[in-house]
């Protein structure tokens, strides 16, 4: 320890703010240039890239949705061929789930969690960079396959045997399966980072009962990713093996089972919904108190509800398989467990209502999105209770009723809070406010357009319209409602257009935001907007759940970290007592090269199993480069 004497090594103790800023910037900032931009490991830069890319995929997926609405606007329309339509609805689902919803929620976590727990970078920052490049690779793979007319056409659920070797000719299903692998690797990487950041890098004093609800939500989400994603990776890998190598996992004639696929898929697929939904409720729980000027009511109950939802979500998957002919007793159990998840969801809603009741609402755009969320999500949750009922489900399963239900849950329950979150944190991310006027316009267009588009689908489902059909016959009584839905979808699209116009306009010429434009309570608002590369000049010390409301004058801070290399504070899991100064990695190109090598291996394995063998060598080289020892060590203090 002697060579680390504070007199010999530059520390952040007893120097002026301006000098400290200059020194930290020197240490933490990436140099200019394209290669440096690729090499950066700053969680904020990577998260912004992640979010922007995910929103590009949202736009592309939205265009696909409009194409489907065009085709369905009248009976026996011939705007889009059935083959292309099947690709389009498969792409829409796959894109929205794997390339938009999950990545954007994880990206919000990558941006916000380190700031909210008061640390300087996410844990494993190079893994974080690697994760982004893998995500981008998966997205490009899927969209290029669509451009080349070889996009998967087997549905985002890719049920065997339709996606299997006998009935899925060509490389379409293989492309789907490998795209899954890309995005799962990316998602698992981020999940690990979040868990470690939340457990080990919280600001001193931020004991578990002072962790912001959003951070709790992201933590539970990360655990869901870690437990759910391996099931789908196993499923997609065995599917590729069946198709390419001739294994028999899903061949009933040789002892395989087509239903095995559905179990594996939904064991992932149902928690997937909560992977998207839990971060969104975390956002709601964070935005709401700011705009009712009151701490969240029922913190413990809310956190308990998040954890309970996470655990329960692994016990519901069979309600996606109610009509496959499983034993009745088992199915009844899953009816009960699916109904039971209404309890934690209800607990959260009641806590929010109590918070609003006890507070003084200020109707700004983020709050409007939260209110839109409550109105919409409660409806979606209630239709969820309906499809949880086994007999009810036998009539609505795989109909437009279910399409309506999950759009209410995913758009109402996750995209509304996400848009609110963009309005809320945009000032933090860019230093500029978004427009209230355009924001209100886009909210009302999206809210009205959404309900006009998706509510009639409940009725369409009940009067017999199945999902995933590219057309329907004129004598069926669905044409009027379908045309109405198609026209309404234009309103919804217009709302999103206004939103994106607002984002682009505000990015360039929005009003300067300042540190804490909303008067919020959590730590990310304690630093400049946008935050400097080092996040916090001094790591803050936390004494309550609302540090910025309770410490109005000046936030207490720690000191003693070195300024000549990237250091942050490691604290204990439960009470967040400082344990060590940890020096974190510098920028590096290796994650990018590792992602390239992994991509080449995964894409090659669509065509030949030998790609796994030959592809392992470049991967080994890049990983060795990545992990080459650097000789800095963490120091106990």
């Amino acid at each position: 320890m002697t060579k680390d004497d504070p007199i010999l090594t530059p520390r952040d103790t007893d120097i002026a703010d301006a000098e400290l800023h200059a020194r930290l910037m020197r240490t933490w900032t990436s140099p200019p240039g394209l290669w440096a931009a690729i090499a950066t490991v700053d969680h904020k830069v990577i998260a912004r890239r992640y979010i922007a890319t995910a929103f590009v995929f949202l736009i592309l997926g939205g265009i696909l949705a409009l194409a489907m609405r065009l085709q369905l606007s009248r009976p026996e329309a011939r705007y889009i061929s059935p083959d292309r339509y099947n690709q389009i609805f498969t792409m829409h689902g796959t894109n929205m789930m794997f390339l938009f919803a999950v990545p954007v929620m994880e990206a919000m976590a990558v941006y916000l969690v380190p700031l909210m727990v008061g640390t300087r970078n996410i844990a494993f920052p190079r893994l974080n960079a690697f994760s982004y490049w893998m995500f981008l690779g998966g997205g490009l793979l899927l969209w290029l396959s669509f451009a080349l007319d070889t996009a998967p056409d087997v549905g985002w659920f890719a049920y065997v045997p339709l996606s299997g070797p006998e009935y899925g000719p060509g490389k379409r299903a293989d492309l789907w399966a490998q795209m899954i692998t890309f995005t799962e690797i990316a998602a698992l990487a981020v999940a690990v980072e979040i868990v470690v950041t939340v457990f080990k890098q919280r600001a001193p004093g931020m004991s578990l009962d002072r962790v912001p609800v959003l951070v709790w939500a992201m933590l539970v989400m990360a655990f869901l990713v870690i437990f759910a994603m391996p099931a789908i990776m196993f499923a997609s890998s065995t599917l590729i093996l069946d198709r390419l190598v001739g294994t028999q996992f899903y061949n009933p004639a040789k002892g395989g089972d087509a239903l095995l696929w559905q179990h594996l898929f939904w064991f992932f697929g149902h928690p997937e919904v909560y992977i998207i939904f839990l971060p969104a409720v975390g956002m709601v729980s964070t935005i709401l108190p700011t705009f009712v000027r009151r701490p969240l009511f029922g913190y413990m109950l809310l956190v308990g509800a998040l954890i309970a939802t996470g655990i329960l979500s692994f016990g519901l998957w069979v309600h996606h398989m109610f009509v496959t002919g499983l034993p009745r007793v088992g199915e009844s159990f899953f009816t009960a467990s699916s109904m039971a998840i209404a309890l934690p969801a209800g607990a959260q809603i009641f806590c929010w209502l109590a918070t609003i009741w006890a507070g003084k609402p200020v109707f700004r755009v983020p709050f409007l999105f939260v209110l839109g969320f409550i109105v919409t999500f409660v409806l979606g949750g209630l239709t969820g209770v309906m499809v949880a009922s086994l007999p009810f489900d036998t009539q609505v399963h795989d109909t437009y009723f279910v399409v309506a239900h999950f759009h209410y849950v995913l758009v109402g329950g996750a995209v509304f809070p996400l848009l609110g979150a963009v309005y809320y944190w945009f000032p933090k991310m860019t230093g500029r406010m978004m427009s209230e006027r355009l924001g209100k316009l886009s909210f009302w267009l999206i809210f009205a357009g959404f309900h006009l588009t998706f509510f009639p689908m409940h009725i369409l489902g009940l009067i017999g319209m199945p999902r995933r059909i590219y057309t329907y016959q004129p004598e069926l009584p669905w044409a009027g409602l379908n045309l109405f839905v198609s026209l309404s979808s234009l309103v919804l699209a217009a709302g999103f257009l206004v939103f994106f116009i607002d984002v682009v306009r505000s990015r360039r010429s929005g009003l300067p935001a300042g540190r804490n434009p909303w008067g919020a309570s959590t730590l990310e608002w304690a630093t400049a907007s946008p935050p400097p590369a080092y996040n916090f000049a001094h790591i803050p010390v936390v004494f309550s759940r609302e540090p910025l409301w309770d410490e109005k004058d000046a936030l207490p801070v720690t000191s003693g970290l070195r300024t000549d290399r990237r250091e942050l504070l490691v604290t204990s899991l439960a009470a967040a007592i400082p344990q060590a100064r940890e020096s974190v990695p510098e920028d590096s190109l290796w994650p990018f090269f590792a992602a390239l090598a992994t991509s080449a291996m995964l894409i090659g394995s669509i065509f030949t199993p030998w790609a796994v063998v030959w592809g392992a060598f470049p991967m080994a080289v890049t990983l060795i480069g990545w992990f080459w020892p650097k000789g800095t060590k963490e120091e106990m203090s």
Partner: protein
């Protein structure tokens, strides 16, 4: 913290979107899987020029005009595979290893390995029991089936070869080149009456 100018970022984002949009357009304009073959093209496909011996010949112009889909198109090959079971080929040829009829994977083609010969065999029949399917299948179906049968005997699997069937088939899937795996001339060649194997 270094940042690119907004214009550069916007331009590159727009560029990426434009590239994707153009690629999407190219994909859209590219011909998808062919389900409907117009009668003139079907007639054209029948126009093969077979050598007088009945072995080998030239494919018709329509085949080239269509871009030779039947040799390597994954959809055509997999359709051929379905036709193989629908039209009862297995009754004589088994799973490809032969039975009453000859094997497709022993490296020996009685009438040559050319696609045109196989088409002629299916369409017009051959002596010793191979029936003519002229009146049972359409021209494009015959070509699909012939393409599949040719791929069965390939010594290196084509990238677009179909995978295994969901059945009890004992031979390796087509995309693993069963002919290469199973070919074993043994102590006596499979067809001693026909001279050495090619």
């Amino acid at each position: 913290m270094k940042q690119y100018p907004v214009a550069v970022r916007l331009a590159s984002a727009a560029g990426a979107v434009v590239v994707l949009a153009m690629a999407a357009y190219v994909g859209w304009a590219r011909e998808p899987r062919t389900f409907r073959l117009p009668p003139p093209l079907q007639a054209g496909l029948n126009d093969i020029k077979l050598m007088a011996s009945g072995i080998g010949g030239a494919p018709p112009e329509a085949f080239f005009a269509m871009g030779k889909p039947y040799e390597a198109g994954s959809f055509e090959l997999s359709q051929g595979k379905r036709l193989y079971s629908w039209f009862g080929c297995a009754a004589c040829h088994g799973d490809g290893q032969g039975g009453k009829g000859p094997s497709f994977i022993d490296g020996w083609w009685l009438y040559g390995p050319g696609l045109v010969s196989i088409v002629a065999s299916i369409r017009d029949g051959r002596p010793h029991g191979m029936p003519a399917f002229r009146d049972k299948m359409t021209a494009d179906e015959i070509w699909q089936l012939a393409g599949y049968i040719k791929s069965l005997g390939a010594y290196s699997a084509h990238l677009s070869a179909p995978g295994r069937n969901d059945d009890k088939s004992p031979i390796p899937a087509e995309n693993r080149a069963p002919a290469e795996i199973l070919f074993d001339p043994g102590p006596t060649p499979h067809h001693p009456d026909q001279g050495p194997t090619p």
